[in-house]
Amino acid sequence: MKLSGARILIETLIEQGTEVIFGYPGGTVLNIYDELYLNSDRIKHIITAHEQGAAHAADGYARASGKVGVVLATSGPGATNLVTGIANAYLDSVPIVAITGNVAGNMFGKDSFQEVDIMGVTLPITKHNYVVRRAEDLAGTVREAFRIAMSGRPGPVLVDIPKDVQLSYAEYEVGEKVKPYAAVRASDDEIKKAAAMIRESKRPYIFCGGGAVTAGCGKEIAEIAEKTDGYIGLSMMGLSAVHADNPRNLGMMGMHGHYAANRALKECDLIVALGVRFSDRATGNKDKFSAGKNIIHIDVDTAELNKNIPATLCIHSELGYAVKRLLAELGDCGKHPEWQDSIARFRKFEGEHKPPFLSDRLTPYDVIDAVCKRTTDNMPVATDVGQNQLWTAQRYRVRKPRRFLTSGGLGAMGFGMGAAIGACVATGERTVLFTGDGGFGMNLNETMTAVSQNLPLVVIIMNNTVLGNVRQWQTMFFNKHYSATTLNRAVDFPALAKAFGAVGMRAENREELEEALDIAFAADGPVIIDCAIDKDERVLPMIPPGGAFEELKLD
């Protein structure tokens, strides 16, 4: 049957399993919004306060659900407002399809009103992008966009649809839900080699990243650790892959990682790197990172192999397949009592060297512990970027894959509100956001969205009145020159929450926090809790940027 381009878009999105679109209307997407109006019983649209929030929401939705997130924006400013959200999804390998309207084809290149070459703008931050020039091509392009977004290493795809394409008619037939392209799989020989290297190791260390969350193979990775008598360190993106309480899990490694996770990494003789890209925030000094160790690197993206850290054995493979095969191939790996003793010592040392917090009323860990006590395994926890993120990554007990959402690669302040909204919509669960007064300040407008959707969000602002993470670097590396990090703001967050139609409370000590959380975890809609944190609290331990384990600062 012949349908308008706008209708074809909606039909294709529905056929591809899209239940929710996050977006914001405007001049060049009016026809699409008209179809959304007409089909509102088949596909839900959530309007955010700003397109950036919509992009982060689609990202959060995808992270929490494992499905492709969809965001829709108008041309020009609508499209450019998506850019941070798209870049964020690109760096963290999150599958989203971003749809933008554009001016009609005959107005292209004339600097028409709200015309931006969004394809050009997003070239380096998408897996692929399209300008659709004919309505006949629309359905096929959208299907391919979904397919590319979810295949191999996932990522964002942008589809730019000029207004004339939305208006013109073309044949449409319902298509199948697309499947990802078949990914490369490890050969038996590669698996045998890897297994042999692991069997020879006396001190095996599994370095597990976001790829393990995407592949959903954290359980098998934990089994490999058990079988090989090895231990697991997680990158920030990999935090939800393995249950926080698993005895093999040493927690986050890297710049602000746990002492034991970093010490074990230094002392191991073999790193089994699974679904990681050896980010500089994880490795620090690259030469010292790998000195004297064998490294097995398995990743679905061949370009990551030997990119940042050269490996002894590189295996280009779909991670889930390789991990399952490896588990089956391992056989008897023996026990490594010396390694166990070492790990026990590292853990003991870690227990004796807790981060030195200043406040006796309310520390960052107090806040996180109080929340953690109340959350169920299935409740998503999102963070913003900065100290709030690092403390949460260190302390919060993540118990289920896809229930920890953070901006790892881009480190985009303002990510949290959109992401939490997306995760909440995807799971239907109460969702917690740990944010700071800085990061919350960037996209706090999305409180309006949480209110309009009546989402049970618990927003915890770790309010230290400064840009804490930058301040920490200024304290440590810039002679306490607090350039532009002392905010001198006078925002009354509880009043602000109320002005938005949400509930807001202030907590200056543990008792007040518990009272506020009692209310927040019983509420139907969004609750904002403004927690007073000392401005000089630091995230520790810390390995300085580009540094090695020897430079780790404990206090």
Partner: protein, 171 residues
Amino acid sequence: MKKFIIGLLVTNESGALTRISGMFSRRCFNIDSLTVGVTEDPGISRMTIVMTGDEYSRDQIVKQLSKIHSVKEIKEMDPENSVSRELVIIKVRADSKTRSEIIDAVTVFRNKIIDYAKDALSIEATGEYTKLEAFIELMSTYGIIEICRTGLISIDRASQTLKDSGRISEH
């Protein structure tokens, strides 16, 4: 540092060239030359990229290029099993004293004079890299006024093609 020649088949669509050249600038790799033209299949363009780099950059470039969705086939050309050519037009200073010498050199190198003026000659030279470099060096003794190069193109020997010897990129 070595020279590498990479052959690519890419979909003939707007933006394909930008995707590829953008990858080089974004990841700080240098392109010595890049040529592009349509093939026997109008939907597919062929590119030849010449670059200088170490093993690391060669490995990364081939992998990163193969991730670009517009890239359908990619292969590092083997100098032993491929033939390469470049076309150069050189405008060289020539007067009554040097003209015949230059014409002799053009004949020996099997090049062609394509424009003749009182004070200058324009020479069409084709060949592989070393021949052209030698000729350009020789011409520089007479004074090169202007030079214009197409960049290298390269094709497999015998009946082998980029399609059947290259690897289909995975996405």
